[in-house]
Each structure stands twice: as structure tokens, then as C-alpha cells.
């Protein structure tokens, strides 16, 4: 099966997600709170972020995904994070701390902080999508009061990824059918193909929009299945908030140092 086709099939998995014990709305609220907690940690205090990694580890294991899988997938975002923070060590050269004879400047600390922050934030979103599925996540966004127009934009953007992939698959097949095994094409042809892909996708998107209008689309995509909230949802929510609050506000580093200090004495 072609790589493009595999992506198309993997999208269907992302659509549905896997059912877990934690209700979707709770998972969404907790993910938002966790992202706020992660972003609220000052850039020069990465030690606080280290403790926050407990959340994705715990949750991925609880939901039966396995942290290793999530960790490997989260590495996809590493190049973007490196691009964001790569210049920090050269810009912020003020010393942060010294290990032996080596002085580490604040730029390296902030780079590490950006990498860790980005990875654990991405991991929490990956867990949300893996467990709840994109569709349920969007439905839940609506249920917690996110404006319908905004959610519809997100849903449509997501749906059009599939449209673009389908169109690229068609172009790829058309090339392969008349390419006689040729695998590489000149750059000029690639640019034409990409242009053609955009034109075809736009054309198809326009036609899809017409078909949507014909079936009563009024600017807001219908959510469909109701998102249920039960008494156990409150328990999961309360437990999750307490867990995130403990990770965010407890100074585990000092506590650990204090405990080991007492132990040494």
C-alpha cells in the first residue's frame, strides 16, 4: 500500500480514537488545564517541568496506550521546537549555574525548557486525540462552550486534510501510471504538481461546499452524538485537577533536597 494511502487509513483511526475509562469531556478539560499549567512555568525553571511529565506518563498508561508509543510519536515535534529555541543559547549568555568547571548559560536552560515544554504539551494532546478521537474532541469542545464557528473551522480544516491527501493520491497514481517506474522528477515538474494539487483541492472543496449547502449546511457542522456527563465524570475531573495542581504547585525539588538533607544528617 502506498505511503499516502496509509496516511489516509491512519486518519480513520484518529477519527475514532479508542474508548477509555476517562470521559472525553473530562479528558479535554484536563488537557486544557494541563497545557495552562505547563505554559505557566517560567522559562528558566525547567526543574518544575520535569515533575509535570508525570501527567502524560500516568495518563497514557492508565488509558492503555503505553508511554513509549506516545513518547516516540511526540518526537515528531522536536525539529519545530529546536527551530524555535536554537538561537537562545547564543542570545541569552548570562550564566545560570555551574557544574564543576562548566558554566551553563540561561540560553541553554531556556532551550531545554522549550524542548521539554513542547514535548510534554504535545504528548498530552496526543493522548487526548488517541483516546477520544478527533471527532469526539471537537464535539466536546462545543459542549464546553467553545464557539461553534471556531470548532467548525477546526473540523473543516481537519476534513480538508483528507481531501488534499485523496487528491495527492490521485495525482500520484496518474504519474505512476504513465511514469514507467520513474521515481524522481525534475523540480520544475514538482512545483507544477503541487500547484495542480492546490487547484484541484480548491476545486473539490468548492464542490463539497456546494453539496453541503444542498443538505442544509448553515455555517455550523452538526455535532451529532451527545457527549455524556455522569457522576463518575466529576470524580475523574476532580482527581485530574488535584493531580495537575499537585504537579504544578508542589516544589518537589526542594522537598527532595530537604528530605535527602535530613536523611544525610
Amino acid at each position: 500500500m502506498a505511503k499516502t494511502e496509509k496516511i489516509l487509513y491512519s486518519l480513520t483511526k484518529i477519527d475514532k480514537g479508542r474508548r477509555t475509562v476517562v470521559p472525553t469531556v473530562v479528558m479535554l478539560i484536563l488537557t486544557i488545564l494541563y497545557l495552562v499549567a505547563v505554559l505557566s512555568v517560567p522559562l528558566h525553571m525547567p526543574q518544575k517541568l520535569i515533575w509535570l511529565t508525570a501527567y502524560p506518563i500516568f495518563l497514557s498508561e492508565l488509558c492503555g496506550i503505553g508511554y513509549l508509543k506516545i513518547f516516540v510519536r511526540s518526537l515528531w515535534i522536536l525539529p519545530i521546537l529546536i527551530f524555535i529555541g536554537i538561537f537562545n543559547p547564543f542570545i541569552d549568555t548570562a550564566p545560570a549555574f555551574t557544574i564543576g568547571n562548566v558554566t551553563v548559560n540561561r540560553g541553554w536552560v531556556s532551550l531545554f525548557s522549550i524542548l521539554l515544554r513542547g514535548i510534554i504539551a504535545f504528548q498530552s494532546v496526543l493522548i487526548l486525540v488517541s483516546t477520544s478521537g478527533i471527532i469526539e474532541t471537537f464535539n466536546s469542545l462545543r459542549k464546553i462552550g467553545c464557539p461553534a464557528v471556531l470548532v467548525t473551522q477546526l473540523q473543516l480544516t481537519y476534513r480538508y486534510i483528507a481531501v488534499i491527501i485523496e487528491e495527492s493520491l490521485t495525482i500520484k497514481r496518474a504519474c505512476a501510471a504513465r511514469g514507467f517506474g520513474k521515481r524522481s522528477y525534475p523540480l520544475k515538474l514538482w512545483s507544477r504538481l503541487i500547484g495542480q494539487l492546490l487547484v484541484k483541492s480548491t476545486h473539490r472543496a468548492t464542490k463539497i461546499h456546494l453539496a453541503m449547502l444542498a443538505r442544509g449546511f448553515n455555517g455550523v457542522l452538526p455535532t451529532g452524538n451527545a457527549v455524556y456527563w455522569t457522576s463518575t465524570s466529576w470524580l475523574w475531573l476532580f482527581g485530574g485537577i488535584v493531580f495537575i495542581a499537585i504537579l504544578r504547585f508542589t516544589d518537589f525539588t526542594s522537598l527532595l533536597l530537604h528530605l535527602t538533607g535530613n536523611f544525610n544528617r
Partner: protein
């Protein structure tokens, strides 16, 4: 107010590039009538169909669905009455699963989820595709996609069914099933097609379009004869 008839009165339509696709089209399809729209490629069939539920609005002239004139303001009301099946099913199927696609219309009608589920199940059963409801559209064959596209309109329980070349790319068995299915629809049908046999089987009346004008409006048998003579003239 009856939604079941459709009337075109002196409809002209020009595309932004100046191409005049419809030139004074007038006809009425009454309640329960099945009308085939025939014509060569580029004769204006699809443009005419798009006018029926306000996806295109006449440059001049008027389209009425029941007592309601089709305008920008009435478009949403009209679209609940006129169900349109597009030429290419891929244009209609874009939701993650077949179920969601068939439920798209009923949900837009703000029906309760129980009713949506009932309609989706019934529509998929009618086209014989209940077992694929959880699949994505791209996982289906061409014929299955066509059937799902039809189901996605049937689930809206339209008063008027408008179909643009529904038998294109269907094998004989799928085509026969489609004809049987459409035969069970007891409201008004407008059917644009190149499949003359299908037109004959389903529609007692036909309209022949040529370069945006109606040149024949009679029994399907007679219109097909005229159609052949138009084709011959074009070849000469």
C-alpha cells in the same frame, strides 16, 4: 403549502465568464411526476439542476418550489424540500464515516439524535449498505459511494429528488438496484442522465435541452427520438 412541484419560468443563467448556460427555460414538474432531463454534454443539464435548490440563482427568471420562490433568503427552506444527488459522489462524501455523511442532512435539520439514527439506518438499508456505516467513504467502491450519496439525500426525506447522472460508473447490477430504489420514491423526481434506458424505465416524461434551451418536452419515448436526431445533426 405544497413543496412537491417545481416550476421554472423564463430562467436565464450566465456564468461569470459570460457563458450563457440557460436561455429562457420554462417548465413545471407537478407532484409525483418523474421528469428526465436529457441533452448532450454542455447543454445545461447540471446548471438547471443546481437552480432547483438555490445553489445557483437565475440571472433572470424565476424558479419556484411549491409556493416558494427560490431566492437567497428561502434557500435553506427550499433545500429541506429538494434533495440533490450530485454527479460525483466524492463531492458529497467528506465526513469521517458513512454514518456521519448520511446523518449530515438530518442533523442540519436539527432533528433529535434518535430520529437521525432511525433515518440513517433506514436510508442505508434502502441502498443495501448498512454494513459499511462505520467505514470511511474512500474505503468503498465507486458504486457503493454512489449509493451512500443517494442515501445521504434520502435520509432528509425530500419532497423532490434531483439526481445528476446517477447511473454513471455503475455496473449493471448496481444500476438495476438504483432503478428499483428510485422506483420506490413516490414524490417528484428530476433526473439528468445520458442513460436513455434508465430515463425510459423511470420517467414517463422527458425534457430535451440543447445549448441552454428546451427543444422538446414530451413523453420520454418521443423526446429520445428527437434527441437522436439532434445527435445526428451534430455529427453531420
Amino acid at each position: 403549502m405544497s413543496h412537491h412541484f417545481i416550476r421554472f419560468t423564463g430562467v436565464h443563467y450566465s456564468y461569470p465568464d459570460g457563458t450563457e448556460a440557460l436561455k429562457g427555460v420554462s417548465f413545471t414538474a407537478t407532484h409525483g411526476e418523474r421528469v428526465a432531463i436529457l441533452g448532450l454534454n454542455g447543454s445545461g443539464k447540471s446548471t438547471l439542476l443546481l437552480q432547483t435548490n438555490g445553489l445557483l440563482l437565475p440571472t433572470t427568471g424565476e424558479v419556484n418550489v411549491g409556493d416558494v420562490p427560490v431566492t437567497k433568503k428561502t434557500a435553506s427552506l427550499v433545500r429541506q424540500a429538494v434533495g440533490m444527488v450530485f454527479q460525483d459522489p466524492d463531492d458529497m462524501l467528506f465526513m469521517p464515516t458513512v454514518y456521519d455523511d448520511v446523518a449530515f442532512g438530518p442533523r442540519n435539520m436539527n432533528l433529535p439524535e434518535v430520529e437521525v439514527e432511525r433515518r440513517v439506518t433506514a436510508a442505508l438499508k434502502a441502498v443495501g449498505l448498512e454494513e459499511v456505516s462505520k467505514k470511511a467513504a474512500f474505503q468503498l467502491s465507486g458504486g457503493q459511494r454512489r449509493s451512500v450519496a443517494i442515501a445521504s439525500v434520502l435520509s432528509m426525506k425530500p419532497d423532490i429528488l434531483v439526481l445528476d447522472e446517477p447511473s454513471a460508473n455503475l455496473d449493471l447490477s448496481a444500476r438495476d438496484n438504483l432503478i428499483k430504489l428510485l422506483d420506490t420514491f413516490h414524490h417528484t423526481i428530476l433526473l439528468a442522465t445520458h442513460d436513455l434506458e434508465m430515463a425510459k424505465q423511470l420517467c414517463p416524461r422527458a425534457i430535451l435541452l440543447n445549448q441552454g434551451r428546451i427543444i422538446a418536452d414530451d413523453s420520454t419515448e418521443k423526446v429520445i427520438e428527437t434527441f437522436f436526431s439532434v445527435c445526428l445533426r451534430k455529427e453531420q
